[in-house]
């Protein structure tokens, strides 16, 4: 089996599947081009995540990651939940195959987005952060999830050839026709 027992358990019996009608925060990440889509819904009370639900379109790892993230986040303060990293999720699942690590990114990202969404709603509505992914200066390889600065021609970890999306600025594989992050069709020169 390519997955750990823990991954298979969360895949078979995912916790917290569903949506929350009057959610305080919603986070949606991914798109079908990259294979996975996740939606996280949170209820917040006294700065704590009181309830969390998710919906996921994707592979076994994506489903297990969503389930694990939801379990890890429940009952945590927003700060604690924001501190959950991709590595934490993968570790809690007793590891993920190398080429599936990007799924764990999506899980934590979706949760963080739901929290951001809650904070934005609470704060002044004009404070919107429209940061292009390209401005943050830190990426991960779309294949092996190794660290990528953004300007290198190939991933240092797995040697896959890299490129940048014209649309969202994210890192993608050179031979990819569509951006995994925003779904934009790559313009070939």
């Amino acid at each position: 089996m390519i997955y750990s027992e823990k991954v298979m358990d969360h895949f078979q019996n995912p916790r917290n599947v569903g949506t929350i009608e009057d959610a305080d925060g919603v986070g949606k990440v991914g798109n079908p081009v990259c294979g996975d889509m996740m939606e996280f819904y949170i209820k917040v009370k006294d700065n704590r995540i009181e309830d969390v639900k998710f919906k996921t379109f994707g592979c076994g790892a994506a489903i297990a990651v969503s389930s694990m993230v939801s379990e890890m986040a429940k009952g945590k303060t927003l700060e604690e939940a924001m501190a959950i990293t991709n590595d934490d999720v993968a570790e809690e699942l007793d590891g993920l195959p190398k080429n599936k690590l990007h799924c764990s990114n999506l899980g934590a990202d979706a949760l963080h987005e739901a929290i951001e969404n809650f904070r934005e709603k609470k704060k002044a509505p004009e404070k919107t952060e429209d940061v292009k992914a390209g401005d943050t200066g830190k990426f991960s390889c779309p294949y092996c999830d190794g660290p990528v600065e953004g300007m290198e021609e190939a991933c240092h970890t797995c040697q896959v050839e890299l490129d940048r999306c014209d649309e969202c600025g994210n890192v993608l594989r050179k031979d990819e026709d569509k951006c995994l992050h925003c779904g934009a069709t790559k313009v070939r020169v």
Binding site: P32, F57, G60, I63, G183
Partner: protein
Amino acid sequence: MRRVYFDHIASTPLDPRVAEAMFPYLKEFYGNPQSLHSYGQETASAIEDARQKVAQLIDAETEEVFFTSSGSESNNFAIKGMALAQKARGKNIVVSAVEHQSVLHSVKSLEKSGFSVTEVPVDRYGLVDPEDVRKAITPETILVSLMLANGEVGTIEPVADVAKVCHEKGVPCHTDAVDAVGNIPVSVKTLDVDALSLAGNQFYGPTGSAALFLKKGTRCLPYIDGGIQEGGKRAGSENISGIVGLGKAAEIALKELQERTEKVKPLRDTIIHRMRQDVDHVILTGHPENRLPHHASFCVEFIEGEAMLLNLDMKGIAAASGSACTSRALKASHVLLAMGFDHAIAQGSLVFSLVDQNTSEDIDYLFEVFPEIIERLRQMSPLYPKQHEE
């Protein structure tokens, strides 16, 4: 737990009669076929016997068959060998957009040494139009490669018509017939191709044993340089037991092909029928009639293939998928994308390919567990419309 194997396209089980034929060549007969002594002559004649049987299966001459280690090797051998042998004439190769990776990556690697590649599109069934091949051929074109049957969607391509176009233009034609040979009648004379790849593990022969047909007079450089094995085109001590097994599998396939087809085809039709009847939002991929008799492929909407495969495997059912998550490269099936499916639909790819041993009880079992699996995954999916209506 009941175990059901629906993954013919990955590999067929070894026919017990093939295994029986192979055993002596793993035990008693071990001489190198190139040796002059009687040990060598015993295995040499076994290899020539196998060559004859493989030739008979595809209606070729014995000396036109070259043994290799896999379908992928046969494809590499033909494409690189034929391209390099003719590079003085021209440097363009025409392939279809739905070829196997071993064809697409072979031409990609040739691109690096100055060759150009033209990909011919397919329609929504995965079919190539021979007229598109005619338009793609230029005076620079030195090779056309079109698969006989597609493993992912089952569609059988009009290879004979394409070969005719090629020969009108004076261009040799190769066909990757790995998914076809042993499963549908294949004659290199009827197809009139110059090269054809086949593999033993697609018709109950051993994995690791395959062949390339090269029509007499076809220009093709050696694939492995070395000794004089395989007419000097593919050096290296022969895989004796594997070759003997391939020969035996070819002999059985020639005799029992019709019987096999009569057995698997109704089962395949039942899968297609029940999939439409028992499950909503499922699309049959590939050509509805003009397809491999053992092949039923679908796209299940709103969910992803790997998640389905894992669930099926937990119920003992082995199937395949072309979803991005299933492939280690994390890329959606180039076949389905070339057929015009969007990424979300292509992610739901599911392929059932039948083997001899399958029974109607296997199909009943599949539909006992499958609708429930789909429903469970769909309930989890943000793409499932029923959920949004709630």
